[in-house]
Symmetry: C2
């Protein structure tokens, strides 16, 4: 790869440098603090969000037939009341196709430059989008600003940088000479041109729409493909704002804003399958449930299909130099955004022998379970910190799921290690909050879930020993999918076995990490997110496989005249 500076945009060049070294970098501010931004910009962003409420959201003046979305704030319980232009897939695909030719004819440099500018302009609206994220996804403000803002924009910039790298993998012209039979050699001038595939459908999930949305949108646009963004009907606004900004950047540069459009559907009339099966859909980017993701993969046919679904992320608690620090980290990570992240841990393994620090201190399995529950209670008892860490529950269905699993414990199927409860949120009593439900079981009970249980519902599995834990955790990842795995152990041999087992299972392993960083933080430019090695998806953020299917080469050969080029 040629990670050298391009001169196109400093942000791009810094991203390329970070990708080459896998070092920490952010092209955007991760903090929404007024100490950095002053007071005016945050207030203006909030006001811009509030001005959307109860209104028709217009991408352009031609839109008509507005429909109400299903957006209800998890913080206030109130409907946002925003209406969006009704969907019309045939017309929207046609508009995308019509917009594509001009965009594909732009130089790679021009497309890349504009993509970076789109991200910069989206970042300019970071506060507005953060409020939109809060009141649709339910994220706390710090997470909405950083995780759904800067971190997501970084993943977008990473995708732009990889698009640049892959589109420049080969020369665009060459002369070729070969002796064939007698007489003069054959001399040909060859030229190659990058061709887009066609309209991409980008599905965005409800709980974290921008983080996968931005890289998919950027990779497609950078490679010349128009994009139809299909947000979840309960989390339309963040993507609508981003799409409107991107359309403005395109239009101001003289391109057809039809290159990116919003397709708003509803739970009563879902359009996901219609979009995937549409004969004009050329690329699919999907983030969402394993069930629908699997359907998408089976129906993508020969079209590039990039998926991130879900799985069972596991934690093995064998031992730690500092047991308290280890338990702090896993509980904080479990509680982060109420475990509504694709990297949230779901299943904790505790060997019968408990956790040892290698220096004589040992917590029994009972004590480990109690320590996990105790730390959740301590967090919930501090409403300000709880609100910042846990945020709100995106969907009422998650509360129902918690009730359902609580019922299973009450019926004797699991030990009820920690009951989920509402925690007091500073936003008021209508905030939809829930501390994690923690259920205990013995591995031999055979009641370990065989799929992701979405939301703050965790399982502690007691195993005979750590080897049984590792075997079950890795097997679970391989069979049911997993994006991450977490391990605490002081035994290097065991760590090596686990590293190998999770490599084959395709779960990214974080081992013995403690401290301030959430364990599931996945750093753009450095961490590879989603391995493609298990059912949790194939859309690795980001390496060449995330890009290569999005464009193709056209070739033309002619006789070479003269000594030089054609």
């Amino acid at each position: 790869m040629n990670f050298e500076p391009t001169g196109i945009d400093p942000l791009l060049d810094e991203a390329l440098s970070a990708i080459a070294t896998r070092s920490a970098f952010s092209g955007f501010k991760e903090s929404g603090s007024s100490r950095i931004h002053g007071t005016e910009k945050p207030a203006a962003g909030k006001a811009a969000y509030e001005a959307c409420l109860g209104q028709a959201f217009r991408l352009d003046d031609s839109e008509a037939d507005f429909i109400a979305a299903e957006e209800v704030s998890p913080f206030t319980g109130e409907a946002l009341g925003i209406r969006y232009a009704g969907p019309d897939p045939d017309r929207q695909f046609a508009a995308a196709r019509a917009a594509m030719k001009g965009w594909a004819s732009a130089s790679v440099e021009q497309r890349i430059k504009l993509c970076v500018e789109m991200l910069r302009q989206v970042d300019e609206h970071g506060f507005e989008i953060a409020h939109a994220i809060m009141h649709t996804a339910g994220q706390s403000f710090p997470m909405a600003y950083a995780g759904s803002g800067a971190n997501a924009l970084d993943r977008g910039l990473e995708a732009v940088a990889w698009s640049w790298l892959m589109m420049n993998a080969l020369p665009f012209q060459a002369s070729w000479q070969k002796q064939v039979g007698a007489g003069d050699p054959v001399r040909l001038a060859k030229r190659w041109r990058l061709m887009p595939r066609g309209p991409a459908v980008v599905f965005c999930c409800a709980s974290f729409p921008t983080w996968n949305g931005y890289p998919a949108m950027m990779a497609n646009l950078a490679c010349g493909n128009p994009v139809l963004v299909k947000p979840h009907p309960t989390a339309v606004l963040p993507m609508a704002i981003a799409v409107r900004i991107i359309r403005k950047v395109l239009a101001e540069a003289g391109f057809d804003p039809g290159l990116i459009q919003l397709v708003v559907d509803s739970s009563s009339k879902p359009l996901g399958k219609v979009l995937v099966e549409h004969d004009q859909a050329a690329i699919i980017d999907f983030t969402g449930s394993a069930r629908f993701g699997s359907w998408v993969e089976q129906h993508a046919g020969n079209r590039p299909c990039y998926t991130e679904t879900s799985g069972i992320n596991t934690v093995i608690l064998d031992g730690a130099e500092d047991i308290d620090a280890a338990l702090d980290s896993v509980v904080n990570t479990l509680c982060l955004f109420s475990a509504q992240m694709c990297t949230s841990p779901q299943t904790f393994y505790v060997p019968a022998s408990g956790m040892s620090d290698g220096n004589g201190r040992c917590l029994s399995a009972d004590e480990v379970e109690a320590a996990l529950a105790g730390r959740i209670d301590a967090l919930a008892a501090n409403p300000k910190r709880a609100a910042s860490v846990m945020g709100c529950i995106q969907s009422p269905a998650t509360l129902s799921l918690i009730d359902e699993w609580t019922g299973l414990a009450e019926s004797g199927r699991y030990r009820l290690l920690h009951r989920s409860d509402h925690y007091a949120h500073p936003a008021g009593p209508d905030a939809r909050t829930a501390t994690p439900l923690v259920l205990g079981l013995d591995l031999e009970d055979g009641t370990a879930p065989q799929e992701e249980v979405f939301g703050p519902i965790a399982f502690v599995i007691r195993t005979a020993d750590r080897d049984q834990a590792l075997q079950h955790a890795a097997d679970s990842a391989r069979r049911h999918g997993a994006i991450t795995a977490y391990l605490y152990s002081t035994d290097e041999d065991y760590i090596e076995s686990a590293t190998d087992a999770f490599a084959w299972a395709g779960a990214a392993l974080t081992c013995n990490v403690t401290g301030n960083m959430p364990l599931n933080f996945s750093a753009a430019y450095s961490d590879l997110h989603v391995s493609g090695l298990n059912p949790a998806g194939n859309a690795t953020l980001a390496e060449p496989s995330f890009i290569t299917g999005r464009f193709r080469y056209a070739q033309v050969r002619r006789p070479l005249s003269g000594d030089g080029d054609e």
Copy 2:
């Protein structure tokens, strides 16, 4: 990309240099002449081929339950009588899986080095394989030695080189530091490991098995994946020889030869679908018919699937500086291996105004048709040259197809411009030969075929003008697939329009080329073969998209201790 020399093998380094510059290179001898090889080696190769006849072909000593293949020499009409170990997909996939772990644990350098050595050893058996190709595929000796030998090995080496490039796109370890909250920064040591996907199924076609087979086999092996080779039941021997050689190279280097196996099926008990639908198949490489290829694409699900099928390759005859040279080239290319190549032209467009040289000479459309037919007759009248160019017809089904289309002409549906006939082959009267059938129609008749008609069956379509020809040719490529397109014109504006139209249609355009090189010669390291932009397949030989899906990354993060690495 880093195309710098690796020091692993000079052949690899020369291939990387050629890829970077797209210049002409071959790592292998294209001529099988005794002036280069002496007399002993060619004779030994022929003898080795003949020693296979009527015998059981053993890959190793454990094989049992041999079954007869369906191989019949197109040159002699005699069955080869070779038996191969019977297929057992479950057992073979299990053996492939068992072999994979050791191979995946080898360093990238070691795998790459061995892959280059495999190609070198296969080349050592070039004469034996060339005779096997002749008597299964029906290719002439020069084509069997060059096209199915050196040129195919070059495509294989190109795939190894691209595997090297892509597997080295990213560093395998990094240290990462970031300030998160107060206190010490988070410092992590990160490591990545390349993981194979699992067993690949490589389908090889009957008429040109090695040319797509070698790159698929090499890309899979280089990236750590075992391979089950599924040859066409009428053309097993060339792949069986190659597989045996590769197994020997693997075994001698201490690896499990189960990394590459042969699955021999039969037309009465075809196993293609069983292999594709097998839950242990992780990658599919398919070369064959559009119909089955489409089925494969629809059933690959979320597994990487690389296809080359077929389409309608077109020739537009608008004008030429040297009309005779242009017609020589197109007829030679049509006749090459009796149009049984995926790049062979099928449809010729002649505008009503005929062909002009821009200097006053003009051939009417009638004269163009007559000139095409006349050139075929001239070639057929020279049996030695005809044998070298046309070779034999691989399948009796192709003769039936010729009869069928001749009947359509006799019934008045087409004008019979050139009747296909047996040509006298030096090998004797049993050689299955056929000159091209050429059928004429007017575009407005609506009788232009809408799919590939395999073999020496060509169509001349008269159009009102050249624009109509271009529109129809490009539309045909886009809708029905096409790998190549050919154009002769003296008008730069028209050439530019055609270049654009075929770029969007995904057919590689060869424009105004005359001389000794067959127009459909696709040079490894330089020409990109199959665009992925139309139904003719997505397996581009070779650029990153041919490689990236074949391996994945496993990641592990741990606290960084000390100042340096973990």
